[in-house]
Amino acid sequence: MNPADTHQHHQHPPQLHREPGQAEALQTLMIEGAGCASCVTKIEKALQAVPGVKSAEMNFADRSVAITGNASSEQLISAVEKAGYNASATAGSADADALEEKEQADEAYYRRLMLNMSIALGVGIPLMAYGLIVGEMNVTTAAERWAWLGVGIVTLGVMIFSGRHFYTGAWQSFRNHSANMDTLIALGTGTAWFYSMVVILLPSLLPELARHIYFEATAMIIGLINLGLALELKARGRTSLAIKRLIGLQPKTAQVVRDGKSIEIAIEQVLLNDIVRVRPGEKIPVDGEVTEGHTAIDESMLTGEPMPVEKGPGNEVVAGSINKTGSILFRATRVGKDTALAQIINMVKRAQNSKPPIGRLADTISAYFVPTVMIIAVLSAMAWLNLGPDPVIAYAIVSATTVLIIACPCALGLATPMSVMVGVGKAAEAGVLIRNGEALQTASKITAMILDKTGTITLGQPKVTDIVLSSSLSEAQVLQLAASLESGSEHPLALAIMDSARDRGLELDQAEHFNAVAGHGIEGTIKGRQLLFGNDKLMTRSKIDYSGYSASAAELAAQAKTPMYFAVDGTLAAVIAVADPIKEDSAAAIARLQKNGIRVVMLTGDNHATAQAVAAQVGIVEFFAEVLPGDKANKVSELQRQGELVGMTGDGINDAPALAMADVGFAIGTGTDVAIESADITLMRGSLHGLADAIAVSKATLGNIKQNLFGAFIYNAAGIPIAAGLLYPWFGLLLNPVIAGAAMAFSSLTVVSNANRLRFFQAQEH
């Protein structure tokens, strides 16, 4: 069991299977007031007691309950209310609703932070201006004491109104034996306020020179940090734009045909096998298979593939794509969290929160950071008290406060995750799904890339191009026999042979004793005739003389075609050539990789001549031909032994061991029909440009992380000693705590903003 699959946040209602033609309504209610797990049983029982209800299942995590049966929503809501809870009918996707709630909560928090900031700066700025204009903020006369006492009380009001969350947070963390940014702010501002109050209330404890008031620092720091948090919240919102866009792709309702009637229902209520109607311009609500109508569908939002794809009966459609031209009916095959879109969203979310190894050092530092800063603050105060000039106590207080305030664990902690968030999202926009932070980091450092030929460089849809006869059998007879034999095989070449036979209207026979010989070909019998179909190795193995036709085979191979020998009853009957067209943009994408200094190597099971011809057409110099499927992984490790950091690109199914062996495995998909779980990086579209894009995005993200980490390290490494007064002996420089507050507030904002720059990253034009 993959642990990642075991967590659920906004579970969709349990999936119910709907047999075609069966009419059974599914309704979802949202429950309020259910605070414990035992409420679940109570609510379910209350609903099950309603006449017409077949089943009621509650999801405690998101407080939703899925009900099947024919009861009206009014009856259901009233039953829940009688049980002592509130209920409401729901519509819309859980992800979209959660997003909306999060945005509303963020907006409310932003307004609160801005209000905090206005109040604190409203007190702090006049105080600071007074200090700058009038001069020293000292207490000398009794009248001044009373006046400053009033200011002290006002500042306390600011601390309570605008800074309460710092103090409560610091206290709670302290009780839990942990410390965070709140601890530093609470200690810094608290120290400044307490010291000032001691100056006012007990001035005799302090020498005259040290009777300085720091209320302005307390108010200003609280104001600036609230401002920094508010701006950071806005900037953070932008880092998740990509996932918001993906979530937004899913429509909230769907038109479903039930009992001959077209009805509009919430997307959660669409059941498997429902017939869904989509008109031009509408989004596809769930995954399915077209049953009626023809259209062109724009899948670019999911795959990055710009051209709309033609769809007709039997073709798959995926949720989130846009129906462009015709009206279609399709049968729902995957709904709720099973749709490709839901899985993509899930994977992107997971990857956005995973950390590449480069962030581990910062993580370790973060864990020890705050207590270390507290110790530095104490040491700095002690140094001033022991060695500093008069008034030592004032200097000690200023330096300790400034150290506490300037230190910014946030900048360090946010450096990596913010960039990963934007980078992974950016990649998803280009149809590149990155599994986790580690894959992201390794992809940025790849030195060699192995490309599987079939389906990666080529379309993977081979066609029969030539049949060279070598016996009395006709072309149709050869093709009929070969295709009948191949009907037991799933090899792409088999499909080409069968397509060709079908095109000619040939009836296929049942093969017996079918046997696939890995790396050689296939054998079997049809109506008592012994058939062999494969490469020269198979012929040699079976002692078939093919010498007269090896030149023809070589000639075909030199044209990038795959020649195969076909023998009937121990005699060579024909050489059949199949060619797999090279994708239009393979050569350009491979050139992009090579331009980045990546050694590109092609891998194929085909013979040497075919491999050479394909390699030459796409500009690849190095290739491995005639590689048995089981040997692909060995070729990967061969390059690794040469010191290369190896990427392997394949279709994700046949190449699984090689993908796993590579430092980064890239699975290349066609459309959205991809095995998302099979590789480190999944390319949603078939183009190899996705590969170059993936590497470019990884490099850009890693670069961005490095800038952030460097900035955060330098900021703290330089800021803390300066705040402690390290420059004072030489330059007489000691930072004002207000400046430290401003620097701290904007250092984390800088990190988030720098990560946001990645949003504007463009993979090279193609």
């Binding site: 069991m1 642990p3 990642a4 075991t6 967590h7 659920q8 946040h9 405690f60 995590a61 998101d62 407080r63 959660a98 709630e101 999060k102 909560a105 963020d106 409310a108 928090y109 609160r112 969350h165 409560t168 947070g169 610091a170 709670q172 963390s173 009780r175 839990n176 034996h177 942990s178 410390a179 965070n180 940014m181 709140d182 948090l229 950071e232 919240l233 979310k349 997971r350 929160n353 995973s354 993580d363 973060s366 864990a367 020890y368 705050v370 207590p371 507290m374 110790i375 104490v378 040491l379 105060a381 002690m382 008290l385 664990p409 946030c410 360090l412 902690g413 946010l414 995750p417 986790n436």
Partner: protein, 118 residues
Amino acid sequence: MMLIVNIAGIALIAVIVWWFWLYKPTETVVDDGDVVIVVENGSYQPSHIKLAANRATELHFLRKDPSSCAEMLLLPDLQISETLTLDKPCTIKLPPLEAGEYDFHCQMKMYRGLLIVQ
């Protein structure tokens, strides 16, 4: 006088080291396979949770802290990451776990907790 101040300073440093690094916090024992963890005021409450090994457990996180730092919850060893919506419970179903310690924390490791599986 300075001697007292310096001793007080060193004592304060010792208290910081002990309180934040050396102290072993009390653990909340989960015996019914179900625990509610409130994210509030910069911390997880409870933060140290003792679970039975090889038994599935549900963690219900309830975020009451509006700070954006509290938004993300990570359990890196189990490859779990979740966005916690304010005032909305988020249930994480843990598979039966092998004995050991499993960290959970926010994106920046400022909010920290530990699952102790025995």
